[in-house]
Structures are given as structure tokens and as C-alpha cells.
Symmetry: C2
Subunit: 672 residues, 2 copies
């Protein structure tokens, strides 16, 4: 919608006319515009925001357009050009130089001098006289020289000089040449009036995060399992001892499930059994006991000093700690006594356990967010996040946000961001697609996805197309987890080591953010029979892992994380492009920097059991080269360099050797 | 966007919390919503408006939703239910009972009793105890009985009675049966509280037209060519004499190009020659001479009395007169002297003729709409339309609206509609698609289309899918002209009589509105060589037609117009569905009333030169029948009735015999 939003109301025709008349250029279908501007698009500092709009005007006049942008609160607008693309669609971009909320809108105008140039060119080409047109052109320059915009833009002198030269010129040919010169066009463009200047009615918000919001590699561990001894509860210091290993794998986020005291009432036993045995540690998601709740640390992990040591040590290893934010409470969480008004009670006076009939979860109770819980619970929960932010945690993985009210998240995340704009919230919602997207709209920085269950070429192509080609790309940042403590994917249960390598490469190179839960690099796949759950899950017991287990894929993990870091094309997931490969098991895709300075091409054999080969298309056209041209290639795994001649190449991938290939295409090399 | 549009501004956290918290249900992607509600969707009185929205809420609770609607200005809202469709999409409709602007919005809420019923069902199916749930259910009923909404809805007594019965019941089984009864569900649905009631933030406008806006058949003639004598200028009385012919063809709109005095300066001669010969009448689009301008009638047509006679006589023949509204002026139009400020002048003081370099149109000059023309010209043009409306013209075909400012149309059409809400404006814009659509958004009732150049199965399928399946369906009402005085389509130039029959049936049955320019029914195709223009065009000379010319297709025209009128399925173009036919020359499509009471199936051979046959799919599935079922069919051309057995049938269409078939599928007949 353009500036005027008036409806056909009781206003007089004259008032209505004078409201409508100035809005002569149509500006619509602006992108990114999320829910009419209700929610911000997302960007990262150091990047830029691509902007598009349909822009057109009556008649045949030339128009021009720009995007206005600024940091929210700044007085002045900055301007970046929009360029005509196709079918009345205009495109441009503006840089994001500060990590602060931005806003933008679109302006467009009729360019009388460009119209003049175009008409004169067509008349001259048809051999028509243009004496009258020359006078008109000189008049336009004279007007521009005297105009407000010439002064504001510092072009008044240049335009006046041109006008003077036009007046002094002896003959029509000289005047025509002056008027048709690039100099005249540039002067008018910079300093000429913007006729029929129209501004889009809505100012659209942009939320700006730090780069890690869009590009991060997560490693998830249960701290209590880091002692390498199943009989001894791990501590933060045990985690510190593990940091070199995790750094060497190349991760940059170390994510810990809840570290709070675990409830004793109705505690779950091993393998999710209803009754805990002697010494069973319980699920860390059953939060709270007489030892404290969400702002306490499980005593056996070590106290706040230990936690501070861990945060420091992690930073020294290039790792940032991410904590879990899980709102449910164990039945012995202190809040239940302190704030009975936050919980649901049955008619017999007992508390209502969490349930999804007929399933019951008797080791946890849910809060409700309204009635007596509004607003006190909202403040309390916000303060929990602020509490951990004060303990230098800036990344939160949020458990099951889709079962808590959307307005709570919108409010709480804004509250935290007002104080800590660098906080990253990862939404752990595996639910209906529109709810998952809405959580991203209301503020979640990153989101879990269905990647975990997308195995085939068609599934991956369709899902990634939805994520990278629809409006969701502007607000929904996928975090591709290959596994989680809750998800031992069927594919991995039956794929052997090749399957783990396949899924690793897909996750790490299809998305900007990805994550693994420890054990993945060891190809751990033992499952509760018939279920996507890990056998002897760490959720219910302390495990010890053999980090050097034979057949591990630590080298692959370190490799892909190194390549991710070193190739800028892999830093923005929206640049993904799939290419033809004539085998349904071979997925070929590319990621490119806009200026082609970084171009990574990846081929993955999706079949973990068989050698697969395929002819595939090298996107020479993206380098503006014909199908028979050649291009320089670096094998990013071996470092070898060679040349591909022609658009169609062949790849054969043996899952037992290496089910993937990663190449860099080199723009400067191999031109035919 | 839901109710709250607040941005993250300086408001305190508490204020923000209390703004956000009540908006618990997400309502988004509402349809129809044109440019965020900036423009109205369109409907016709006697019809209904289909409404859709994505609606969802946190957690697993059941929700319900409704559309609120009213005539603009009414105090009370009416309510119609929305039903869950799929993937969080909800659908419903509301009736349009008055020809007046409407507005609507969406509400949604959590239905606690429906949630209760669902959970209890699942627990009972799992054999769990529900004693506590029965108490909770009774509590919900008691609450509902005492609630505001029960009183407002007149359900307080019913709910109180149910609550009493629950209290009096002897045993759990009786109470459970009462609570799970349909009666309890209905009472709660009608009178129970609407928890977390959320309302969409925007109230969306709907423009309501009379039915002819969406369903009309136009016949275009040049009045001066109706004398049947090329030497005698036709009059309105000659047109009156032609009315029985036009009525018998079955049209309901008789459209006349401009009837105003024609300029003498630079008048065009026959076949668009630059200089008119003695007695050449000139183009009626070169409007205005010393005899008057847009509010005058060309003297040779007869005066206002004659025009009034024509309007009356047309009405008696079931025809409504449509006039042309063409804003350009001949160089001798009175306005040029009276209002030089409305026109563009060259540096030498001469007027600027219309041009699109290198083309020049020296018999017309264009007005401009700004500078000295704002607002006086806008008022003058509005008053021209009002002038003809006062002379009982309620349909205007508007010439080249895309070369005049969009704000002018938006203002002018609203001004006219404020006085004459029954006026229909047809946009004659053949330009870029987004401009054509925007003209429909700003107020044009009907629009010319690219149908005229869509001949093949793929072209027709793609174009009609765009018109009937995208957002455009809500505001863009196509009027499929098979030809115009300006367009003698190449297809018709080479197709012979079969081609005319093909294009007639396509236009008349693919769109609600369609039109023919006279001569089409006579299969006139003589062209200026190499151009899509008629030879000896009526635009520049008086013609006489042989209305009984051999090979005419008057019977086809009368037939399709009769079938259009008699089959309600053909009245709403958005119900179009294409069906499989295994021949690229055979197009099979259906139009159906929502309740299946009217179902027309059409097969057209798009090849005018050869017999074509095809197996095609009868859409038995739309009647809920299996592929091997049968269905009753009426051949609407012959009136024969028969039965098709099985989904796949065959049709063979000989263009020399009849290149189309039109059937009615009869829901009641032929069930297997």
C-alpha cells in the first residue's frame, strides 16, 4: 500500500482528491514485508538486506526508485538505488553496518529527463526533427539547476554550468550533444527534481543479529556424562577437559541441556522407565527440586564458580555456551509451593501433570500463562533468561516453545533483546509448519527443522526450496540438527558409517546453522527397537563414551567445519541452488557469493549402501560462460586443482570411500 | 496481523505485556486481503464471499473461528462460521444480501469444552479413569451457564438446565453421558465463553456490485454503421431497428464507441490514412469539435431525444447501453480553448499531439492531470461520467486507462459510485500485467484481458489458472473480448468459420463477462495485410453489413448465450476447472455450482482445420463417485440425455460440423 490508507469515507471529494493525487507511482508487493510489517525481517551485521518491489506508473514515462533505510532512532534516512529487474519488479539492497534494529521503505518517482532522452533517441533513430525537443530538454536542465534538490545534493553548480553551456552553444547539434551526454544524465539523476515522488506507506522493520545467528555449528553434550566414567557424575570441570576435542572438531557453540537440580518426585528411570532406580539421575528436563529451580545449578555439576570457569575456558577454545530454556517443572520444583497460581490443579486438589492423552508425563508439570500467572510468571521467566544472560550465556535453545503462548515469546524475547541484543534463541518446535514459522516471526533467532527426516533427493530439494525460496527465507533461519538426544533417526539406524558422513555433509553445507549431539561423530545408532530413540539414552542415565571409537567420523566433522569457515559462500544459506544430476541418489548443489568470489559445489551420494555415479551440470552459466567453456576447480578435500571442460561432468561416489565431493569453482581460471 | 500493531518502542514492559497477552490465537494470511486491505475485494449482491485464514494457537487445545461481516455503516456485526480445512487453514463464507460496501474480519478463540471432550474421549479409549475429568467438565458447563455470552446468546437457561441435571445425576456414567452428548456440545458452542478471543487487526473492505458486473455478454457496434447503407450516416433510430437482432443473439450489453462530435482538424481518412477525404467521418475516438465535446452528441446520430429513445428501446429488448469514456481530445475540442492549462504546449506555442515516438497521433491531443489541471480537470472528467449517468448510462468502457494516473481513477470511480453504485467500468488496458491488475484494484469493475491472444491449450490453461487461482480472482473480473474494432486476431484471420465458433465458445464459457464486436458473428476477418487490424475499419468509415451473410454463426451465438443464462454454473468464472484430455488440441473444462446443482462440462477442439478426438476424464470424483461409476449427462446442444459409465470417455470434434461439445452432468442420475 502506498502512503494513503484512507477509505471511502465521509471526506469531501476535494480532500480525497488532494490525498490521492500525489501518490502517482504504484509501489506494491514489497519484500521483505512479513505480515504487513507486523514482524521484522532478519539480517546480520556486516551483511546486507535484499529489497524488492513492484513499481510502475501510468503512461510511458521513465521512472526510478530507491530504498530508504536507517537504524531505528536515527533521524536521517540513507538511500540505496533500486534497479529494474523484470515485469515491473525492482531490486536493490542496503548494507547492515550496525547491530541494531533497522527500518526501510521504498520511494519512486518519474524521471522527466530520462523520459526526454528516451523519446529523443527514438525520434532521432526514426529520422525526425527534434528542434522543439532540444528546447524542452534545455528547459528541463534549467529547471533542475534552479531546484531544491540540486542545492541539497550539491549539484546546483554543475547543472547551472550545463544550462549556461546550452545557452551559449552556437548550434542545435552542440546543444543536442550536451543534452544527450552521460554528464547531463548523471547531473539530472543526482540533482534533478524527483517528479511525482511517491513513498510506500509502511516503514518495514528489520531485526539485526550478530553473524553467529545465521552461521553456527553446534555440539550438544550432557555435562553429567563427561566424566568418562558411568559411575561418576560429570562436572563442569570434566566438560572443560573435553573442550580441546570439541574445538578440534571445529564447532563454535557448545550446547548443554538443562543444568538445574532434577526433581525427585516421580523421577524417571533408565530408558524412560516409570520408576527410577537407586542412584538414577533422572531426566534433566524434570527441572527443580528442593535444591532449587531454573536459577540454580544441579549440585553435582559444580556451582556457579565451575560454570564461570567453563564459560571462560569455552571462550578460550572458540566456543560459546548455549543453555536450555525448558519451562516445565518437576513436581518438587520450588515454584509449585511458592506460586500455586501458576499451575493447574485437579478438583481433588492434586496438581495436574503434563499429559497428551492418553500419554502422561508424571515427572513434570506445566505452568499456565494466564489467569493468576499473568503477569507474574511472565516476569519470572524473563528474569530466568536475564539471570543466565548475566552469567554470560548469550545462546538459549528453547524447549517446546509451541506449547507456550506466542505472545509470551514475542514479549519475552523483546525484553531480553532490549538488554542483550546479542542473545540467540533457538526454537525447538517440531510441529505444524505454520506454527514453526510463526515462532520465528515473533522473535526466535534460529529454528529446528524437518531436515532430520528428509533423506531423499526429492524430499531435500522440496524442503530446501521452501526454506530458501519462499518468504520464510527472510525470517526463518534453519538449524539442521542431524540428531538430538530425542531423535535417533531411522536413516542413521540402518545406514552405517556412510550414512553418518552423508547426513553430516548435508547438514553442514545445506544450512548456515547445524548441529550434532555427541555420539553422532562416533556413529552411535543403537535404538530402542522400533523407535527413533537412543537405547540407554543419556536423558535418563550417565553414559561414558569412547571418543576414539573405531569407525568414528571425526575427520569428516573437522573437515566440513573447516571448509564452512573458510568459504564465505557457505555463510548465507539462502544462496543455495540445486543443479541437474542424472541419478536420483546423487544430489548436486552449489552455494555462491553474489560476486562469485566464493563458489562451492557439492555432490552427495544419498545412498549409503551402493556406489552411485552421475553426469551432472556444472553451472557455467552462473559465470556467464557457454556450455562448452571450461572452469578451474579445486577439490576442497584434497586441495588438488584441475580444469573441467564443458558443462556436463561425471562423478562417482563410493559410500565406503567417501560419499561426498566438495569443490571450489574458480571464476578466474579455466575460461576457454 | 492480529489486533496489536505496536512496534518495539519506548513502552514499558508491563504495557507491552498487557497489549500482547490477549492476542493468543494467531490469525494470518487472510484472504481476500488486497494490498493489506488498501483495496477492496469484489463481490456481487445475491452471491457470497469465500473467506480463508491461517488460524492456530499454542499447545493442543481445540480452537474455533468465525468471520464477522456487515454492511459498512451498520452498527452490528453478523457472524458466519469458519471450518478447519487443512494445514491450519480455515474456510468459510458469508452472504452478500445488499448492494452496498461490506467489510469483514476474522475472530478465533480456544474452545475449552471441545478440548475437554477430545481429551476425555482419548482417555476413555485408552481405558483410563475419568472421574476427575467429569468434575472438570461439569465445572465448565456451570461456568458457561453463568457467563455473559450464555445470556447474550439466549442459552443461559439451557446451560443452567444441563448444569442442574449434572448436579442431580446419581452416577458418573449418567454425568459422563450428559457431558459427552451432542446437546452439551451445541449448548457450549452457542452459549459458552470464547476463551482467548482474538480478532484480526484489520477490517477488510468488500465492494459489492450488481450481478451484471460479473456476468454479462457485450455486443459492440458503431452506431453510424447501422443504417445498412454506407452512404447514409446511421442514427440512434437505426440502432433501435437493430435491437431485435441483437436481442435474438442473446446479448445483454450494447456497447457504443464514442458518440460525440468528431474533430475536423487533422481528421484521419479511410484505413487510418493521414488525410481525410471529402465526407470521411473520422475516428470517433478523435473527440470534440466546434459542435461540442464529451457532453455532446455527434449531430448526425440524432440528439438527446434520440439517445433517450435508444436507452428505452434497448431496455425493452433486455439490453443496457454501454458508452465509451475516452479522455483524449481532437485538436478542435472546445476544451483546448477553454482550458489551455489542461494540455501540453510545445516551446513554439503549438499544442502537443499524442505520440509514442516515433509514432504520432495528430488527430488527438492528450490532457495532463497535474499542474494546472489539478483539480479542475478531475472534476470536469468526473462530471462527464455523471452527465451520462444522468442520461441513464450505467456502463462505461474506458479507453486506455493505463495512460492516465491511477489516483485519478481511484478518486473518480469512487465519486461516481457514491452517487451511482450500479455503474460498471470496463478497463480497456492492454499493457503490463501488474498495471492491468492495479487498475482493477483501484476500482474498475471489469477488465479486458490477454484472452484475445491465447489460442493454445497450454496458453489458455496457464492464463485461466492465473485469473481463477491467484489473488487476482478476488478483484480482477475478466471480460473476454473475441475481437474489437482495434483487434482482428491473427487466429481468426486464418481459421475460417470453425475458428470463430471455437473462440466464441471459449470466451462465453471460460469467463463470466465476454464480448464480441459486430462482424464477428459474420466471420469477418479481412485484415490490413500483416496486421491485426480490420481492412476498411469502421473506425474510419461508415460500413454496411449483411447481417444474413452466408456462413454466419448467429445460431452458435444465440445458443451459447442461452446456455450461459440457463446454467448457474456459468455465472461465476472462478469455479473453472480443467480436466485431463489426452490430446493437445482438445481442451476439456468444467464449471460447477458449489452444491453441484449445476455442472457444465465443455470440450473444445482448438484446431480449426482438423478433426480431433481425445479420451478425457469425467470428474466423477467431484460427485464423490469412484472411477467406475456412471453419471447422467445432458447434451446441452441437442437436449439428448444419456449415461456415461466410467471416468474416461471419448470425444471427437469435427471443426466443420461443430468444434465444441457442451454437456450438463446430472448429480442425481447415473449413480452406479
Amino acid at each position: 500500500m502506498e502512503r494513503l490508507l484512507g477509505k471511502q469515507d465521509a471526506k469531501g471529494p476535494e480532500q480525497r482528491l488532494h490525498e490521492l493525487a500525489p501518490v502517482r507511482v504504484a509501489i506494491e508487493a514489497v519484500s521483505p514485508e512479513i505480515n504487513g510489517g507486523r514482524f521484522p525481517a532478519k539480517a546480520v551485521v556486516g551483511g546486507s538486506l535484499q529489497v524488492e518491489a513492484d513499481i510502475f506508473c501510468d503512461g510511458h514515462d521513465k521512472i526510478d526508485a530507491a530504498v530508504l533505510y536507517r537504524v531505528v532512532g536515527d533521524k536521517e534516512w540513507n538511500e540505496a538505488p533500486l534497479r529494474f529487474h523484470d515485469n515491473d519488479r525492482w531490486r536493490g539492497e542496503f548494507p547492515i553496518e550496525r547491530q541494531a534494529p533497522h527500518e526501510f521503505t521504498i520511494i519512486a518517482w518519474r524521471d522527466l529527463f530520462a523520459t526526454w532522452r528516451d523519446e529523443v533517441r527514438r525520434k532521432i533513430e526514426a529520422g525526425q526533427q527534434v528542434a522543439s525537443e532540444i528546447k524542452e530538454g534545455a528547459h528541463l536542465i534549467g529547471q533542475a539547476a534552479a531546484g531544491e534538490r540540486a542545492k541539497d545534493a550539491g549539484e546546483a553548480d554543475g547543472l547551472a554550468e550545463l544550462a549556461e553551456q546550452l545557452g551559449a552553444a552556437d548550434d542545435e547539434a552542440t546543444r543536442l550533444a550536451l543534452l544527450r551526454s552521460d554528464r547531463a544524465a548523471a547531473l539530472y539523476s543526482r540533482g534533478g527534481p524527483r517528479t511525482s515522488l511517491t513513498r510506500y506507506a509502511t516503514t518495514l522493520p528489520v531485526w539485526v543479529d550478530r553473524p553467529k545467528a545465521a552461521f553456527s555449528a553446534w555440539y550438544e553434550i550432557m555435562p553429567r556424562s563427561q566424566s568418562d566414567d558411568p559411575e561418576r557424575h560429570g562436572t563442569f570441570d570434566d566438560v572443560i577437559a573435553r573442550l580441546p576435542y570439541i574445538r578440534d572438531l571445529g564447532f563454535d557453540v557448545l550446547y548443554l541441556p538443562p543444568i538445574h537440580p532434577i526433581g525427585r518426585v516421580n523421577r524417571k528411570g533408565r530408558n524412560n522407565s516409570l520408576h527410577a532406580g537407586e542412584g538414577d539421575p533422572g531426566s534433566p528436563y524434570a527441572i527443580g527440586s528442593e535444591e532449587g529451580g531454573h536459577d540454580a545449578i544441579h549440585p553435582e555439576l559444580g556451582g556457579f564458580d565451575g560454570f564461570a570457569r567453563l564459560v571462560d575456558a569455552a571462550a578460550q577454545h572458540g566456543l560459546e555456551i548455549a543453555l536450555d530454556f525448558a519451562i516445565q517443572c518437576a513436581p518438587d520444583h520450588p515454584w509449585i509451593k511458592e506460586h500455586p497460581e501458576w499451575f493447574d490443579w485437579r478438583p481433588d486438589g492434586t496438581i495436574k501433570f503434563a499429559e497428551n492423552p492418553p500419554k502422561k508425563y508424571e515427572d513434570i508439570v506445566n505452568v499456565h500463562f494466564y489467569r493468576g500467572a499473568l503477569p507474574s510468571l511472565w516476569y519470572a521467566l524473563r528474569d530466568i533468561v536475564l539471570f543466565w544472560a548475566e552469567h554470560r550465556v548469550r545462546i538459549f535453545r528453547v524447549d517446546n516453545p509451541h506449547t507456550k503462548p506466542l505472545p509470551f515469546w514475542e514479549w519475552m524475547i523483546a525484553e531480553v533483546h532490549a538488554r542483550y541484543p546479542d542473545v540467540i534463541f533457538l526454537s525447538e518446535a517440531f510441529t505444524r509448519p505454520k506454527m514453526m514459522k510463526r515462532l520465528a516471526k515473533v522473535g526466535f533467532t534460529q529454528s529446528y527443522t524437518y531436515f532430520t527426516w528428509r533423506d531423499t533427493k526429492q524430499e531435500l530439494t522440496e524442503y530446501l526450496t521452501e526454506l530458501t525460496r519462499t518468504e520464510a527465507r527472510h525470517y526463518y533461519r534453519p538449524n539442521f540438527f542431524v540428531n538430538t538426544p530425542d531423535i535417533n533417526p531411522y536413516f542413521l539406524q540402518h545406514s552405517g558409517r556412510p550414512g553418518f558422513r552423508i547426513r553430516l555433509v548435508l547438514a553442514a553445507t545445506l544450512a548456515g546453522n547445524y548441529g550434532v549431539y555427541n555420539g553422532f561423530e562416533l556413529c552411535e545408532a543403537a535404538a530402542v527397537p522400533g523407535k527413533e530413540e537412543y537405547l540407554n539414552s543419556e536423558k535418563y542415565e550417565i553414559r561414558a563414551w569412547d571418543w576414539d571409537r573405531p569407525g568414528n567420523i571425526r575427520e569428516d566433522v573437522a573437515l566440513v567445519n573447516r571448509l564452512r569457515r573458510g568459504n564465505p559462500a557457505l555463510h548465507d544459506f539462502t544462496n543455495l541452488e540445486f543443479y541437474n544430476a542424472w541419478n536420483d541418489h546423487i544430489l548436486v548443489y552449489g552455494r555462491r557469493a553474489a560476486d562469485l568470489s566464493s563458489f562451492v559445489l557439492i555432490a552427495v551420494n544419498l545412498d549409503p549402501h551402493n556406489v552411485q555415479g552421475a553426469d551432472f551440470e556444472v553451472p557455467l552459466w552462473e559465470f556467464g560462460r557457454p556450455d562448452d567453456a571450461s572452469i578451474g576447480v579445486e577439490d576442497l578435500i584434497t586441495g588438488d586443482r584441475f580444469t573441467w571442460r564443458g558443462k556436463v561432468q561425471n562423478v562417482e561416489l563410493d559410500p565406503q570411500v567417501r560419499p561426498y565431493a566438495i569443490w571450489r569453482l574458480i571464476a578466474e581460471e579455466g575460461v576457454p
